[in-house]
Symmetry: C2
Subunit: 291 residues, 2 copies
Amino acid sequence: MPVFGQDLSRSLSRKAAILGPGLIGGSLAMALRRGDAPWAVSLWTRRAESVPAVEAALPGCPVSTDLAAAVQGADVVVLCISPRAIEESGERLTSLISPSTPVTDAGSVKSRIVTSLEPVLGGRFIGAHPMAGSEQSGIAAARPDLFDGALCILTPTENSDAAALDAIRGMWSAAGCRLREMAPAAHDSAVARVSHLPHAAAAALVHAALGKDRSFASLAGSGFRDSTRIACGPENLWTEIFLDNRKEIAAGIADLQEHFEALKTAVLRGDRGAVEAFLRTARALRSEDSA
Amino acid sequence: MPVFGQDLSRSLSRKAAILGPGLIGGSLAMALRRGDAPWAVSLWTRRAESVPAVEAALPGCPVSTDLAAAVQGADVVVLCISPRAIEESGERLTSLISPSTPVTDAGSVKSRIVTSLEPVLGGRFIGAHPMAGSEQSGIAAARPDLFDGALCILTPTENSDAAALDAIRGMWSAAGCRLREMAPAAHDSAVARVSHLPHAAAAALVHAALGKDRSFASLAGSGFRDSTRIACGPENLWTEIFLDNRKEIAAGIADLQEHFEALKTAVLRGDRGAVEAFLRTARALRSEDSA
């Protein structure tokens, strides 16, 4: 009986053109190639020297530096390139793909990208932010299970095309993601707190912990290592994220500074009740998250 | 040939009395019971109701609420109790153990404990801080490999007894720790940066990320979870640590606030070079650590 379903899904096999086969794009390609109904995947990379490594990591997937060749026949185009490159890609794509071909991306800040691309690509552009990654980057760090169970936030707007939204939902689901939809600005505000602010905090903590005496690193245990791991992420990408979402991130840092000020004051005063309440509330908020 | 060595080590089997079989004390007992030359271990717990769970976790180790019974015949006494209880234990111990029996502890702040206990216990008290743990607590979280490869900082002073220091070194080594020795004040200053400050930062980050809208937790990925995991630690213990090391922790928080201010200013100004340099330096400092 399930034979029908399998045959049907195979007959619906689709093709994704993934631009930028780094950690995210490479992992997406690997994820879509898995399973009973693998997608066809073609890849575009800007640099000719990276073609051999991408071909080796993704056997059976054509890899090209020619954008026209990479997107030909694609049912979905996925922009896994830098935020600036995403914004600049619109005009060139419109000349290469059919007007109805859905386009999505994987950028961490959505308002700016959606505002840039909707006027150029129209309602078939559906912003996306898969909440998965690591402090590593590049095709060497890519893995097929990166998105399994990870949340992917889609940011459709009132201009979005329903068929394109369906196709983009299907593609990210096929990669293993759970889906959620939010307005671009609401996404940027929330993600500033739970994704961008942790990165800022990890980097600032490294400065404060090791900036004056690097030898303290030899005393660090798993707590320090876990809480600063994300500070090893690529600074060029994170600089773009911080600047693209600057108001929300600055507001988050300002909040954080107020909390540090309250804690510092309580510690210096020896105010046991205030210190304990600060830590208890944090533990309770954090524990609800993991529950 | 190794038979001689093994027999010799067996003949040197020693007995540790561990006061407070929680995560640290319970794991220490489990660690010492392993291997070819297991230590004898007796345990003291304040609460009668926790005896059955400790007995079940550590078969073959007598568990008592009677301090005199627990420390009888011990070659080493280990205080794995709260900082206040450590300080208060000295007078009672002197009446129960021989004047030469070495005593050590596992507290996270050393100046205050060493200053309290040396006058009472003399040079046989050797402060220790095993840099291992987790956000969990209690005997249920204890595990025999908690200390394997972890750094244990010993804080002997000019008053320390050489034989006691040797015995305490041997005990923490037998548990699996790497050893290092520092003066109590130098320990507190360094550990404030790489252990206590990360805890403060994790708690403050939870407040800033989730304090205004708890539903943001549903958007959090592995970066947020890793960087805030330690905020789930027991607040009563961490409050004592923060207050015992208040000057060093307050200085660390002040440094952290300055780094946040610099980052916030650079982000709001759109100063790409400054943001990227901030993140690059953090990544480089953190990467050296893990190298």
